[in-house]
């Protein structure tokens, strides 16, 4: 398949992972078999990592505390930041870990059921990792937009029902 069509399939799935292969095939003008084969290939070679659902946990009545933690790291010989990053990444509470430019070295996203537990994790687990020189924790107070999804009032369709 052409590069452009590959992008098309991924773009369609990125917006709605549940789009059936039949519909994708129609939209990109290819056979269902070709589309299925392409998706299988993306899954195999890790271009498609996982299909996830974007949830409004607050609406679902589940309390969650989310924080960004900036971590200063003393890089180790040979492995730089990777050793510390891997150590942090293995905790299931940790959602994401990035190496970033700027004042700190790693930016970590962590999710927990309450503030106390999250605080304890930072104090007892994260800060005590060899190589972690300091942390700054920023709690998320409200979500406005995440993964291209608006969590605040979206724009309604104001159009007339029929127009020229």
């Amino acid at each position: 398949m052409q590069n452009e069509e590959i992008d098309e399939i991924l773009t369609i799935l990125a917006r709605d992972a549940r789009t059936p292969p039949e519909t994708i095939a129609t939209m990109v003008g290819k056979s269902v078999e070709d589309v299925r084969a392409a998706i299988d290939e993306y899954e195999r070679n890790g271009i498609i990592k996982r299909y996830k659902t974007i949830l409004d946990w607050e609406k679902a009545g589940t309390d969650k505390v989310v924080a960004f933690i900036d971590v200063k790291v003393t890089p180790a010989r040979d492995i730089g930041f990777d050793g510390v990053a891997a150590r942090i990444s293995r905790f299931p509470e940790i959602q994401s870990v990035w190496l970033v430019s700027g004042g700190s070295d790693l930016r970590v996203m962590i999710e927990s059921s309450n503030i106390r537990e999250l605080g304890r994790f930072v104090a007892e687990k994260l800060s005590t990792i060899n190589g972690v020189a300091g942390t700054t924790t920023n709690f998320i107070l409200r979500r406005y937009k995440e993964d291209q999804v608006m969590f605040i009032d979206t724009e309604e369709d104001h159009r007339l029902v029929v127009s020229p």
Binding site: T23, T26, V162, S163
Partner: protein, 404 residues
């Protein structure tokens, strides 16, 4: 109204109301409607453009602009047209910013026409083409295009409709309602016809950016066209800016000078906030245009494939955001089909008759609506067609490649 008042303008009173209006009034009363009847993008104007307009208001830019429009906007348009189509218009005095293409069309007609003149109009076409000609005191001569020609116009048809009084030809490709485009060669023949008969050409290219599997051909870029062409375009479709009412007209200086004179006396200038938004559209809107076109392209294949499966034969439109399927296999006229579909399945489409001759067997289905809604509309239409004409729908799935 009192009987004692003198009669209103004969010309204006006698213009038939738009065929869309009647339909709109019925549909507007109903709930749970899925509308494929909308002639505007379902995208909201990109935020960058809206933000630029808000900033302009905050700065207090609430004044008139030059009649021609903001110099910055005209310069950007000149560069834009040069870059896209290699056509040159002077930002100084060959471009006027109008209140949408609607105003540009009115200006064009009033500028070139005298009472008794005739204008050739390929149809089905946009609803206001013929009324604008009538309001300018001239006569619109419809030239019916055919589904088998993919709704393009041929010189043979134009020649048959031409008379001693023919003054101009009014074309609009990509077309609302048919979604048709014309090839460079076919359009060149139309231009050659205009040159041979010394006609003006008015070209409404509002859907120029919305083409699929094909590149738009700007009429002004064709051999012999520029000196006799009024090019109309705007921001409504490409940048999802319908409600801003901002467009532009380009023409050689002698023509544009007269157009601008009418514009100065009737509209004065296009709203400054909309002009500021248009400036941002040309500076920063390209990525949004590309995204929207790609999304329309996917929906186009969904709807064309779906309509053909149902048994409503539909050529693959190369432009705009309309599919124009033939409903005659159901045994219903376009008007009957649209009305019953609305009442029985709550799907709004526009009967082709609203767009002039050649549309009596077709309905216009806009795919400027979300994929989810398109799919529900197709399901409802399938149920409707199955009830009216059982067995019409395709049993096996058609070859995918055929929708390309």
């Amino acid at each position: 109204m009192s009987d004692s008042l003198p009669p209103l303008s004969k010309t204006a009173s006698e213009i038939p109301p738009s065929g869309i209006r009647k339909f709109f009034e019925i549909a507007a009363q109903m709930r749970d409607i899925i509308s494929l009847g909308v002639g505007e993008p379902d995208f909201v104007t990109p935020w960058s453009i809206r933000e630029a307009a808000i900033y302009s208001l905050e700065k207090g830019e609430t004044n008139y602009t030059s009649n021609y429009g903001l110099p910055e906007l005209r310069k950007l348009i000149a560069v834009h047209l040069q870059k896209l189509y290699n056509v040159q218009y002077s930002a100084e005095d060959e471009i006027v910013i109008t209140v949408g293409v609607s105003e540009g069309l009115d200006l064009a007609m009033r500028t070139i026409l005298n009472p008794g003149d005739e204008v050739l109009v390929p149809e089905p076409c946009y609803v206001s083409y013929k009324p604008c000609i009538t309001l300018a005191g001239a006569t619109a001569i419809g030239v019916t295009t055919k589904a088998e020609d993919n709704f393009g116009v041929t010189v043979k048809e134009l020649e048959a409709a031409r008379s001693q009084r023919t003054k101009a030809i009014l074309v609009g490709f990509p077309s609302n309602p048919t979604g048709a485009t014309m090839t460079r060669e076919a359009l060149q023949e139309v231009v050659d016809f205009a040159v041979r008969n010394n006609l003006y050409i008015v070209s409404d290219e509002i859907y120029d950016r919305l083409t699929y599997d094909t590149k738009h051909v700007c009429v002004s870029s064709l051999r012999g066209a520029r000196e006799r062409t009024i090019l109309l375009n705007g921001f409504s479709k490409a940048y999802a800016m319908t409600g801003w009412r901002v467009g532009y007209a380009c023409a050689p200086r002698p023509i544009l000078t007269v157009m601008n004179k009418i514009h100065a006396y009737t509209a004065l200038c296009a709203p400054i906030t909309a002009q500021r938004a248009a400036v941002d559209a040309l500076k920063h809107g390209e990525a949004a245009v590309q995204d929207m076109v790609r999304e329309y392209g996917r929906r186009r294949r969904l709807i064309v494939d779906g309509l053909n499966r149902i048994g409503l034969t539909c050529h693959v439109p190369q432009g705009a955001f309309y599919a124009f399927p033939n409903v005659s296999a159901t045994g219903l006229t376009a008007d009957e089909f649209a009305e019953r579909l609305l009442f029985e399945e709550h799907v709004a489409v526009v009967p082709g008759t609203a767009f002039g001759a050649g549309g009596h067997s077709h309905i216009r289905c806009s795919y400027a609506t979300s994929r989810e809604k398109i799919e529900i509309a197709l399901q409802r239409m399938a149920r409707f067609v199955d009830k009216i004409a059982p067995g019409l729908a395709l049993v096996s799935s058609p070859d995918k490649a055929s929708t390309k």
